[in-house]
Symmetry: C2
Subunit: 405 residues, 2 copies
């Protein structure tokens, strides 16, 4: 098939014909349904499928991607092939063009119903720096860290689509020098730049997904901002882990980029020492060469690289199912904060401000240790596209609102 | 209304006319739908509502309680009044009797679709003993324990109805004396006897539910067995909390007992020192006088009392929403292991066997530190009923199956 589309794709658009991410959109007074982003347009899949690919018409009228994702990898590939053909072959133009909606006319919704949300901790750079800040009298990494991708369950019900405001949470925290906690608005509100993997194919109880099977189960990729209240988290998290410091809001990008669109972005998995146990090894494992960009009020504060992650997406999936736990369509596996080794590659402010001790200076001259009310945080990412150039994962953005009294 | 039913209720049945729990049942070749347990029968609500309470006919044909629970406390009370009247007034007998199905003919399903599952740690006795076993060189309770009901998110997708087998999970654990982990079947599989609170009424983002509002949001109560692999948990849980040691299976009882059925079981909340912060206090808070019974292969191994819990259900709910996190219909808040102060009141084997060092002897002469393959674990509970006598929460049961190779 051709590698250019008859749909105009502006230079720098994340949504080239090599990308074709899926989302859920609506027009005023119409029901949400499934679309594909191409340049500055959204392809309305339901009517197109109704006219020439009726097997799929039903799943595209749904208000989430879940019914489509549940069909499995064979269906995903068939639809991707069909969409690509229609957007690259001029012969389909008269058929398809009426179903292209200008992107600025649509409202984008949470693209999938989140089943379970698991947040991992897969960056060694992030985990090491956080360990030093949170447990200064102990080795920064716990003894388990290099043996398994540590993760925990987050709150699925507060995952929201990009653009949803983020109200500063209240909660208990222990003020410095105090022995009793107080309750009030978080004073250490942070962002966490992450990459999320969305499960399409469910499993049955007891089924372990191997490292080499990830493409059969993971439908696609989103950007994640796992907003974090560091003061709440520090007080609550022992011994059972983070809870209210994370559960108030998690934001995801509206466009789910198919794993197949990232073929040119796969890289060798990182060297791992010690070698993981056999159930966390495969012959086709891969990392992803995604370049993230984190900005506050349109000023870039970090450029972490996903290629620096220690644990791979396939290893996270294999670990999650190694005890026989089932996957459901809509499970979200987030990577944990993406951070690199150097300054300017820190995917959260806790690292960038050294635990709030060393303020960042933004381009406008203002400083931040943690987020202020009204701050707009945006995370973007790009990846190599087939044949050169780059495609994008779009963005996840959100504005901080003052705490509710 | 009368306090006895024209439906025969055998002596000792948990399902008296004061109880009237809701569940989801099916008959062979029929769709699952909502029923109420009374004695040895299930009242088929959908046809009865269709003939005389049409407002509710739709929600009772659903395969989960969620649509009914989402209607809110006013609807729950109206339906409870309606059902009670029909089962106590002989005048309704000819109308209602055709809709009574013998309980031994039905299959019971997971009664609600679990939205988010949060597991608390509300027993001071349990938390203290676990702390001593897991962190012998530190104070048993972390500094936050008396200030907030510690909790974490579990895996909603592996919550299953009573009777579902529990396959022994595999996972990484660190053998004594080793520094590198190995992978294999858990050798320390445990039960945890808990009580779960099922949310009916959803909230909007930012809304905090106060301690005194719990009856507006909590629909009812189930029994929970939070199966735990202690060896997996010990290795994985630092620093982000339990994950695969818990996520393979959580079992719940099939009948959701309305909070209104437990009016006679409410007791003064426990004394709390220090006094909780204001957002965790109310003027109508209450504990619950539930007597639990844990058995292995029909041999009672523990009788913990829920009245011994430190944190109340209302405080768990207020804490969970104190950061503005939303509730969804179907959220499950489990109490954490219910344990009392004395021997014979330990709600898990980790406590009862002192971390596996002191085997229990069952009535049949066999011994246990942790669970063996084929063991059947059953948790039951009863509560005071209005006017004397007791009602029951039914039971949650499950059999351990050998690990999958």
């Amino acid at each position: 098939m051709a590698t250019t589309s008859w749909v105009p794709v502006p230079a720098g658009s994340p949504f080239t014909v090599h990308n074709l991410p899926y989302g859920v959109f609506s027009l005023p007074d119409e029901d949400p349904r499934v679309g594909v982003a191409i340049g500055n347009h959204v392809l309305d899949l339901a009517p197109l499928a109704a006219s020439e690919y009726a097997d799929f018409a039903g799943v595209f009228t749904a208000p989430t991607l879940n019914p489509f994702m549940a069909l499995g990898a064979r269906a995903w590939h068939a639809v991707r092939h069909w969409v690509t053909e229609r957007l690259t072959d001029e012969a389909f133009r008269s058929l398809v063009e009426p179903e292209l909606v200008p992107a600025d006319q649509v409202r984008l919704h949470l693209p999938f119903e989140v089943a379970d949300y698991v947040d991992f901790y897969a960056s060694e750079h992030h985990a090491t720096r956080l360990g030093r800040l949170l447990r200064p009298n102990e080795p920064p990494l716990t003894p388990n860290w290099h043996h398994l991708p540590i993760g925990y369950h987050g709150r699925a019900g507060t995952v929201a689509v990009s653009g949803t405001p983020v109200t500063r949470p209240c909660g208990q925290h222990l003020a410095p020098g105090e022995t009793s906690p107080s309750f009030g608005p978080s004073t250490r509100l942070d962002l966490e730049a992450e990459v999320g993997f969305v499960v399409g194919t469910p499993t049955v109880a007891g089924q372990r997904v191997s490292v080499d099977e990830v493409r059969e189960y993971v439908f696609g990729v989103v950007l994640v901002n796992d907003w974090s209240a560091r003061d709440l988290q520090a007080w609550e998290a022992r011994p059972l882990g983070p809870f209210l410091g994370k559960s108030f809001r998690t934001s995801v990008s509206p466009w789910v980029v198919p794993l197949a669109a990232l073929d040119a972005a796969t890289v060798a998995p990182p060297a791992q020492d010690p070698a993981p146990l056999p159930h966390l090894r495969g012959t086709n494992d891969f990392g992803l060469d995604l370049d993230l960009e984190v900005s506050i009020n349109d000023q870039v504060v970090a450029r972490p690289r996903y290629a620096d992650m220690y644990w791979t997406p396939a290893q996270m999936l294999a670990h999650l199912t190694s005890n026989g736990a089932t996957l459901r369509t809509g499970d979200l596996l987030a990577s944990g904060t993406v951070s690199g080794p150097g300054e300017g590659e820190y995917g959260c402010l806790m690292e960038a401000s050294a635990g709030g001790t060393r303020p960042l200076t933004l381009a406008d001259g203002s400083t931040r240790t943690f987020l202020r009310d009204d701050d707009v945080v945006t995370i973007r990412a790009t990846a190599p596209a087939p044949g050169g150039g780059r495609l994008g994962l779009g963005e996840v953005t959100g504005q901080v609102r003052p705490a509710t009294p």
